[in-house]
Amino acid sequence: MKLVCLSSNPSKPCLVLYFKGVTLMLDCGLDISQILNFLPAPVVHSSKWSKLDKYASTDEDLSHELKECAGRVFIDGSFEFACPETNIVDLSQVDVILLSNHSCLLALPYITEYSGFKGFVYATEPTLQMGRQYMEELVTYVERTPKTKMCSKWKSEDIQKNLPPNLKNAVRPSAWKRCYTRHDINASLARIQLIGFNEKLDIFGALQVMSCSSGYCLGSCNWVIQSEYEKICYVSGTSTLTTHPKQMEQAPLKNSDILIMSCLTQTPMANPDAMIGEFCVNVAVTIKNGGNVLVPCYPSGVTYDLFECLSGHMDSCGLSTVPMYFLSPVSDSMLAYSNIFSEWLSSAKQSKVYLPEPPFPHAELVTLGRLKNFKSIHDGLQNDFKTPCIVFTGHPSLRMGDVVHFMEMWGRSAGNTIIFTEPDFPYLEALSPYQPVQMRVCHCPIDTSLSFAQANKLIKELRPQNLVVSHNHTVPPTALPLRTDLVVELEPAPLTYRRGDVLTLPIKRKFECIEISPELADNLDPVEVKPGAAVAMITASLIIRDNKYVLEPLPKDYFHDKKKRGDGSMSRPKTYIWGRVNVRTFVDALTKQGITDIKVEETEDGSIIDLPNDDTLIQVEPESTHIICEGNEVIRIKLRDTLLKCLQKL
């Protein structure tokens, strides 16, 4: 059994597990943090980005590809993403892909399309629908301001090694890929089979796979992969906090042979509850001072909680009339879907639909006109735009989407505030091309994933035999090398994975579950050899269908056929003789059979019984008996049968 790690970002995992002849891919995360090395794609034409200094280089092509901006060097060309490592796995041999939540599937088209992949993909309905929206948002942003120029010159090794650190340290840029298309999204997502929480899936009769709620976002799950005897649990994006999704379910993950963990917090120093409070306060202060607030965000997940908490806070500050704008190409769907996924919600939210009321308060905010959503700034926002206001929009990398426009519009005024909440991108790097910015910058990262303390507590409760985690999670964060408490700890030390690693997991299979048909069972003749223990010898026909093994009685003509062939060697199921021969009893039995002249001679190991009338010797030892006769079958068979009566047979 092996585990292969294909992703370098433990929060966007992509692992491959080989188990019982089945190849399973666990998640398909796409690490798009590389786009921080690119110049932002403006929504509205702006001279700022086209008038930048070229990178000082003797190479004409290279200075065309790279631009200097605010003291840093950026790539001026079409966005590219670092895909999972696909060279060490044959994608056409992957049988099953398990997707845990919508933030861990963005690489799916790279895996399933143009790769010969022909397996099944499993995900919950919210994961599929939300995942589709995230992909569409990404594609819309990328396509809205098309950059046709592909930059590859700088990727050549001898050039890259001399570039500034941000580009020098880029991992394998030659393998970066351009964004997929809408067609790829549809083709890829069409392969998904929907599953519910706690639905037991049969994988080729060899494995059973079950998802269970992970509490991280709508429809997010962890996985239990098990055979009859072995159990592997995969914990992906998980939250033990109480927010809007259905609570994390712990019981099915207990007592596994292997626990694989990914997606721990990216902001170990920030407490999500405190951050959300700080977020609300910062918004209110800015608005009270007449400024505007910009919140770069994804179109769902924590954003739903922000709407809820912020509107409550604004009410309490008497700022209920301040408009909240939600701009995303998929804002419509994201708001609509949130209201129909009641079965994936926390019980408090779910109980609302029994009334019947929409489970999220943002439905009411929309009805009241306090929250307005638009596809983009060109979609009627102008007619409705009132300041001061709060704008929620993507993309949180600040490299694409409507947020680029708001950065340019509001960045120069110290009255405005930008609040970073998404943990996926380091905020200072995200801001770097816009520097110097005058607007107030707040960093309130909200990552509801497991903190190290929560993870260690969880591991203790789940009691796995073996733990497998990302290498990054076993050493303190690079920025905080002394915080040795910010690691996953377990005795014995967990196995760790890094991109490109192939781990051999310590599981040795000993048993397979097979079934015995009732007809065969009826014909068995168990012998109780000890109190409470019985044995029956079985010779039966093994039927294997869909990886399920069934023992049935031998075909009726099986022995018959053999006899006809004149051999007879297999004409009887094997029998086993055990026990010791009691010479006294044996001799008595022989006498009863009419054999008269019996001489018994004791030897070191047993006895020799001599039957001089029949030219026969019988050597009796504790574990064996040897009948030596002169070819008289009648005598031999008589001796054999008499002896067998003195022994036990199976």
Partner: protein
């Protein structure tokens, strides 16, 4: 042999007050807990004294499962849990849990406030009853206890309707509730995987009907409505608030839109607005098309259909009115019917099944003079139309479900005896499986037999695979497995016989035979050995013999043949262990006959 015992307390050869008791693997389960629309006395509820006369039901039931929100499936639930007494878990889907209490409250109001009945369940009881409900989602495997698990499948009958697969150990059954195998405008079709239950309990409302295409039925319906209003008549469509009502509304709405009709369509107020709310929140339970388009347009927001007011009954001119309840047994629909029945331009369209005893059932059976409760007599002159829009599977659908899930036995409920009997024979003929149709209070015992699971040593299995040789294995050739089944307590293990004996501390006793045949033959012993080797090769073809350089011949695991002697006489020693008794004695025999001649 294990058993499954089934006793219907209601819906046995009948439609109404569905309530089926079932015992499987020592677990007692109640399937649905409905009321009967045809009765107003104690017969309207299932007879729970069958279970126990004195104690609470909690001790006698492991769980209660409700298939959908129709009152003939959940109407007796508060009575059962609060008045008879049951505190165990009640399972239903989330939409059912949402809608069920509203219908129960409505039912309670009609019974207590309008008919003035005493000793009925109260609003408070409905609330406490609903607190005992555990919501289930589709395909989730829900563990009731360590042994009992249930799984819900989409049934398509009404919003949130589900079929339940219940499993205890290896035994299982599938209860369909009411289901529909053809998708319609607002709901998808029922679906179940090949779960191969020991028993399928299926409804059989339309056991003998095979419905024509849905499009024809819809065209027919629209034509009748259109003709009637064109002539200035009023159309009454008695419906239940949720279910067919939404289906027919979508149908009329699109038709009115297309034909640009101005005749008003009304929907009796009350439940319906709320009902549409539910449909909006439970879009995931509706049809594929509605799911795909709900972000742009919600199908349950109607343009042409307005709320009805009681005063409109007397309005002149044509109109179409949807009114509850659906079987004309009480409420607004009955009230409107009484007013409009005597006018021959008017029409009543019954879009679904009517339970015996209801006004709906009477007029459908041609009764045109009705005596009402208060001695009032109504002459029905209006046109009475029946159109099957209820979302039940027809005979074809039932057969389709059977082939989908491949049950070992079928049991029919929720239908009329004569029709069931016909279907029962058809099922027996077509699927060659047993089919039952118990009456209320009658118990059916179904024996089940299953394979016995065993832990098999992987090394033994792998050795077998290696022995069978060919890869991929030839499916036609029987693969023979030989092993020792060790039984200790409940644990069954199939392992290598040698290992088994060793584990159990048994010493295998080796039994060996040695016989000698004397031959008078010239030549060196090796020549005789050659001859023997050739002889064996010709006589025993399927067991290979090894001829080693020292002149001995070995076969199988233990057979040894050795020739010794001088130029004239030789002794041939044949030795074998008891394992190879047949081969050994056979060889001895051919040597004796083959060498002497």
């Amino acid at each position: 042999m294990a058993e499954i015992k089934v006793t219907p307390l209601g819906a046995g050869q009948d439609v109404g007050r569905s309530c089926i008791l079932l015992t499987i693997g020592g677990k007692n389960i109640m399937l649905d807990c409905g009321m009967h629309m045809g009765y107003n006395d104690e017969r309207r509820f299932p007879d729970f004294t069958y279970i126990t006369k004195t104690e609470k039901l909690t001790e006698h039931l492991d769980c209660v499962i409700i298939s959908h929100f129709h009152l003939d499936h959940c109407g007796a639930l508060p009575y059962m849990s609060e008045m008879v007494g049951y505190d165990g878990p009640i399972y239903m889907t989330i939409p059912t849990k949402a809608i069920c209490p509203i219908l129960l409250e409505d039912y309670r109001k009609i019974t207590v406030e309008r008919k003035g009945e005493q000793n009925f369940f109260t609003s408070e009881m409905i609330k406490t009853c609903m607190k005992k409900v555990v919501p289930v989602t589709l395909h989730q495997t829900l563990q009731v206890d360590d042994e009992l698990e249930i799984k819900a499948y989409y049934a398509g009958h009404v919003l949130g309707a589900a079929m339940f697969h219940v499993k205890v150990g290896q035994q299982s059954f599938l209860y369909t509730g009411d289901y529909n195998m053809t998708p319609d405008r607002h709901l998808g079709a029922a679906w179940v995987d090949k779960c191969r239950p020991d028993l399928l309990i299926s409804e059989s409302t339309y056991a003998t009907t095979i419905r024509d295409s849905k499009r024809c039925r819809e065209r027919d319906f629209l034509k009748k409505v259109h003709d009637c209003v064109e002539k200035g008549g009023k159309v009454l469509i008695p419906v239940f608030a949720l279910g067919r009502a939404q289906e027919l509304c979508i149908l009329l709405e699109t038709y009115w839109d297309r034909m640009n009709l101005k005749v008003p369509i009304y929907f009796s107020l009350g439940l319906t607005e709320k009902a549409n709310h539910y449909y909006k929140l439970f879009v995931t339970w509706t049809s594929q098309k509605i799911k795909e388009t709900f972000v742009q347009r919600n199908m349950f927001e109607f343009k042409h259909i307005k709320a009805f007011d009681r005063a409109y009954i007397e309005n002149p001119g044509p109109m179409v009115v949807f009114a509850t309840p659906g079987m004309l047994h009480a409420g607004l629909s009955l009230q409107i019917f009484k007013k409009w029945a005597s006018h021959d331009l008017n029409m009543v369209i019954m879009p679904g099944y009517c339970v015996a005893g209801t006004v709906g059932h009477k007029i459908l059976n041609g009764v045109r003079r009705l005596e009402m409760e208060n001695k009032q007599v109504i002459d029905v002159k209006m046109s009475v139309q029946y159109m099957s829009f209820s979302a039940h599977a027809d005979a074809k659908g039932i057969m389709q479900l059977i082939s989908q899930c491949e049950p070992r036995n079928v049991l029919l409920v929720h239908g009329e005896a004569a029709k069931m009997d016909f279907l029962k024979n058809k099922i027996k003929q077509e699927f060659k499986i047993d089919c039952y149709m118990p009456a209320n209070g009658e118990t059916v015992c179904i024996t089940t037999s299953h394979n016995i699971p065993v832990d098999m040593s992987l090394s033994l299995l792998k050795r077998e695979a290696a022995l069978s040789g060919v890869f991929p294995p030839d499916p036609k050739r029987p693969r023979i497995l030989h092993g020792a089944l060790v039984m200790r307590g409940n644990k069954l293990r199939l392992i290598d016989p040698g290992q088994a004996l060793c584990e159990l501390g048994l010493e295998e006793h080796q039994l060996r035979f040695t016989s000698t045949v004397y031959v008078e033959e010239d030549g060196p012993p090796t020549k005789t050995a050659d001859k023997i080797y050739q002889l064996i090769k010709s006589k025993v073809s399927d067991t290979p013999a090894q001829y080693s350089s020292d002149g001995s011949i070995t076969m199988s695991d233990s057979v040894l043949i050795k020739v010794s002697g001088d130029e004239e006489s030789k002794s041939v020693l044949v030795s074998w262990s008891h394992q190879d008794e047949d081969l050994g004695s056979y060889l001895l025999q051919i040597l004796k006959t083959g060498l002497v001649t």
